[in-house]
């Protein structure tokens, strides 16, 4: 590969446009087979201020070209994250963004304040889009005013990069995108999972104990691509494309559609090296097209 794949997302310089999506890479210590040179960065499993047990099983179900999950943001809480993971991340040569979750605006701000300045924390991905928690989560992402307030609360407490991860479960995603941009978001991650459901006809009950879950995988890719493109048209800040990306071609579609970078998620479950394959394939595509860098890739992203 000759092409330069590095990209600047706001103040963050990434060596690769391919990042690991939240919830599919744990805390970065559990995917040993991946060649990390392919990794532009990692977004941690979503964290709350306090530890959470998560939802009862069954938590996952495979669906046509995808999967539903309802994990319920099981996690150790911010103290354990600072104690156990941040020191490890501080040794790594790629940035780690912490996916932060809260039940209230104040809690979002408190989380950002607790993590700001901790060595190893490279930035935040503000999750206002988890479909599997009772309080908070997607509620903030459904309403432009709540989305803006959550963004502002985090922005006030940190100078680190703040990305905001949006839910697809809205009527017009560009309204939410503009609202968080106006409150100082550095980038937008688009999109989180789609709410879905699956019924077991033997028990005539939902297959997930949580009743509903978040749909991910190739099944959502065209939907996610459209939404990421819509966001890219609506805002001036960088957009990180997410949704069913498993191959270099999938990632290139998001990049051409106006995304600065992408996150690979569900594909990592089946192949721990998926990110490597996507990274190398993007480089090969640019080489074949005679592009010297990702920046030279022509985009299809007319502004609204």
């Amino acid at each position: 590969m000759r092409a330069d794949l590095s990209v600047a997302v706001g103040s963050l310089n990434l060596r690769s446009p391919v990042l690991a999506a939240s919830g599919t890479f744990g805390y970065g210590t559990e995917v040993p087979l991946l060649d990390r040179r392919a990794l532009g960065g990692m977004v941690s499993k979503g964290i709350f201020l306090r530890s959470r047990a998560g939802t009862p099983p069954p938590r996952i179900v495979e669906t046509p070209a995808g999967m539903l999950n309802a994990i319920g943001l099981q996690g150790p809480g911010v103290d354990a994250l600072i104690r156990e993971y941040a020191p490890v991340w501080a040794q790594w040569d790629f940035p780690v963004l912490v996916n932060i979750n809260a039940e209230s605006i104040e809690e979002y701000g408190e989380l950002a304040a607790r993590l700001d300045g901790v060595p190893g924390i490279g930035g935040f991905e503000l999750n206002i889009s988890c479909p599997n928690v009772d309080q908070g989560g997607m509620y903030f992402g459904n309403d432009p005013v709540a989305a803006a307030r959550a963004t502002a609360a985090v922005r006030r407490r940190t100078r680190l990069p703040v990305w905001v991860k949006l839910t697809p479960m809205v009527t017009d995603i560009s309204v939410i995108a503009r609202a968080v941009e106006a409150e100082g978001a550095d980038a937008i991650s688009a999109v989180n999972t789609f709410v879905g459901m699956s019924i077991d006809l033997r028990t005539r009950a939902p297959r997930l104990a949580n009743r509903t879950g978040g749909l991910s995988g190739p099944a959502v890719r065209p939907l996610a691509l459209h939404l990421a493109h819509s966001v890219a048209r609506a805002v001036a800040i960088p957009v990180i494309g997410i949704g069913g990306i498993a191959t270099p071609e999938d990632a290139l579609e998001f990049l051409v559609a106006g995304c600065a970078a992408v996150q690979v998620g569900t594909a990592t479950f089946a192949d721990g090296r998926a990110i490597e394959c996507v990274f190398e394939g993007i480089g090969a595509y640019l080489d074949r097209g005679g592009f010297r860098s990702l920046a030279e890739l022509p985009r299809y992203a007319p502004r609204d």
């Binding site: 744990g26 559990e30 938590r59 999950n69 099981q74 033997r202 297959r207």
Partner: protein
């Protein structure tokens, strides 16, 4: 942990609805421990890998035992010799044979036999006495392969051996000499094992996503509270650790 494209070497039928397939995966075969599992990628149209207990390891081969119930297992049945699957493993934390073990009882229900052949082999190697209590719905569904000094057959319909559950098949007199119980089978059977032998080591089956600890899909509810991961802390637990009522009793496989 290795990820390798492993060719199918052999397949044999061991009960009316159970098959064993052997894959050439020498690196995995060399290090796999009893109770560990491998995660098989069975084609690009199956989004998730499928977890299978390591049934046996011999001469660089990794064997898994399965019942064809869904798309992944049917593909295993159709796979031709020489065709490959993506094999990831070994994964998970397996059975422990304590030093000085004298009499091991293996209790398997139906498909649960899949996790017990390798521990049986290791127990025999330690010189312990090994009794295998082999249960299934009916005689034709009993896996014909077993290892050890003695086998006790148990069928729900009484068509072979003891008529009733595997747990009931062990009399109080027979149970007296047993110092280690290893079990695998349907979760209600494991709950009954755990009730009678709280120190039993049980291999639990759950729906699973990644198999490596990141997705948190394979949650096992614990008596101590919260959940941990069948793929990392498990799939083998002490019977007394598991919050059995909170664990789904039955897994249905034909999901997609």
């Amino acid at each position: 942990m290795f990820q390798t494209d492993a060719p199918l070497v052999a397949r044999r039928q061991v009960a009316s609805d159970l098959w064993v397939v052997a894959f050439a995966a020498p690196e995995v075969a060399a290090v796999a421990l009893p109770g560990q599992f491998v995660n098989l990628g069975l084609g690009p149209d199956l989004i998730l890998r499928r977890p299978f207990s390591v049934y046996d390891v011999t001469d660089g081969l990794v064997e898994v035992l399965f019942r064809p119930v869904g798309r992944g297992t049917r593909r295993l049945l159709e796979l031709a010799v020489g065709e490959t699957v993506s094999l990831l493993g070994p994964l998970g934390r397996g059975f422990q044979l304590p030093p000085g073990v004298r009499h091991v009882a293996l209790i398997s229900g139906g498909l649960g036999v899949a996790a017990l052949r390798l521990p049986a082999r290791r127990a025999v190697e330690t010189g312990a006495q090994v009794t295998w209590i082999h249960g299934a719905r009916s005689a034709s569904q009993l896996c014909q392969e077993w290892l050890g000094d003695r086998v006790v057959w148990a069928t729900d319909d009484g068509s072979r051996g003891f008529a009733g559950t595997t747990v009931a098949a062990v009399s109080d007199g027979a149970a007296g000499g047993i110092d280690t119980v290893l079990a695998c089978g349907p979760n209600p059977m494991l709950a009954a094992v755990a009730e009678r032998w709280p120190a039993a080591q049980v291999a639990i089956e759950t729906y699973m996503g990644c198999g490596t600890g990141v997705c948190l899909g394979c949650a096992v509810p614990l008596v101590a509270g919260g959940y941990d991961r069948a793929c990392r802390e498990g799939p083998v637990y002490l019977g007394s650790q598991v919050d059995w009522p909170a664990l789904p009793a039955q897994l249905h496989y034909e999901v997609a």
